[in-house]
């Protein structure tokens, strides 16, 4: 891995951390969704900063070039992040469904009780 590649990878991971943090600061992003982003940025930073670590992992996974390892980590993290979002979305869909149903039932109950009142008042 050339020093230039290293510099670029390190710069990118720092930018990601700053960007994610700024989004949290502005309340555009919830803290609970950021841990995977931060973990991936930190991991990329670590493996590109330490040449020994990078080479060790490269040999471990059977890659030829160390840049492949960095690429692979990036892609793997993206998979994990997408999976994380899909899981969160499943919960959110369930919640939205429940809210919609409760809302409809509540509105019906309210309407029924109001017409019930009106009929009662009308018949007096």
């Amino acid at each position: 891995m050339t020093p230039r590649q290293q510099m670029f990878a390190i710069a990118v991971s720092i930018v990601i951390v700053l960007l994610v943090f700024e989004l949290v600061r502005r309340k555009r992003l919830r803290e609970e969704y950021t841990w995977l982003w931060m973990l991936s940025a930190v991991t990329i930073f670590l493996i590109t900063a330490s040449r020994d670590l990078l080479m060790a992992i490269t040999h471990l996974i059977g890659a030829v070039l160390p840049t492949t390892t960095v690429f692979l980590f990036g892609v793997l993290f993206l998979y994990l992040i997408c999976l994380h979002y899909a899981v969160k979305m499943t919960t959110l869909s369930e919640q939205v469904k429940k809210l919609a149903q409760e809302h409809a039932l509540l509105e019906a109950a309210l309407r029924e009780s109001m017409t019930g009142q009106r009929d009662k008042n009308g018949s007096e």
Binding site: V24, R25, E31, T34, W35, K98, L99, E102
Partner: protein
Amino acid sequence: MKALIVMPARNEAQTIATVIAQLKALVPEADILVVNDASTDETARVAASAGAKVVTLPIHLGYGGAVQTGFKYAARKGYDVVVLMDADGQHDPACVPDLLKGLQDADVVLGSRFLGDCRYFIPFDRRVGMWLLRKIVRWVTGQSITDPTSGFQALRRQVVELLADDHYPVDFADADILILLHRVGFRIKEIPVVMHQRSHGISKYVPSYLRAAYYAFKMSLSILATLLRAAPKR
């Protein structure tokens, strides 16, 4: 002075009737609101029979969401003062009058289990976490809060209105909220209270190193973000 006691509850049918009865005896002038966080047991029915007002959430929001629901209720109904406490019997109702009295010269009164003679056991990893939070709160606010995660507190209406605003997500009674309130300029005070250990049921904090690490990460991020945002207006 209209007071509302807010108790978030999820599956606390076993203990909630006792707590409500004790509160009615000790603080009869206060209204009691149980925020039922989508319990699967009889919590709502038991609480209503015991004489509390009940608000039932259609979906499970967790402690923070339930607490904020209670705050919204209090803000809309014009309560002057809110007492926040647990529904499981850990927080001793006898301390509620002391909390209310504390509001005479403060906007936020925190009940600390460590200030008095209370013997409360905390597992090691939580103790380390609390020590760290104490240090951070002290460094940022200059105040030494002994129990920064205490959910046993009394709040004035202005504080409640701030926390009820969706702009300020209330996660749980925690250090980042204290730092936020301090930045806005509210006066925070601590008094000793009695807390009992959990006699039954699962703790809100399931001990696990992963959960501790995640909590530490989330707290640090939240505190840092709170410090870097502009302080909200009162």
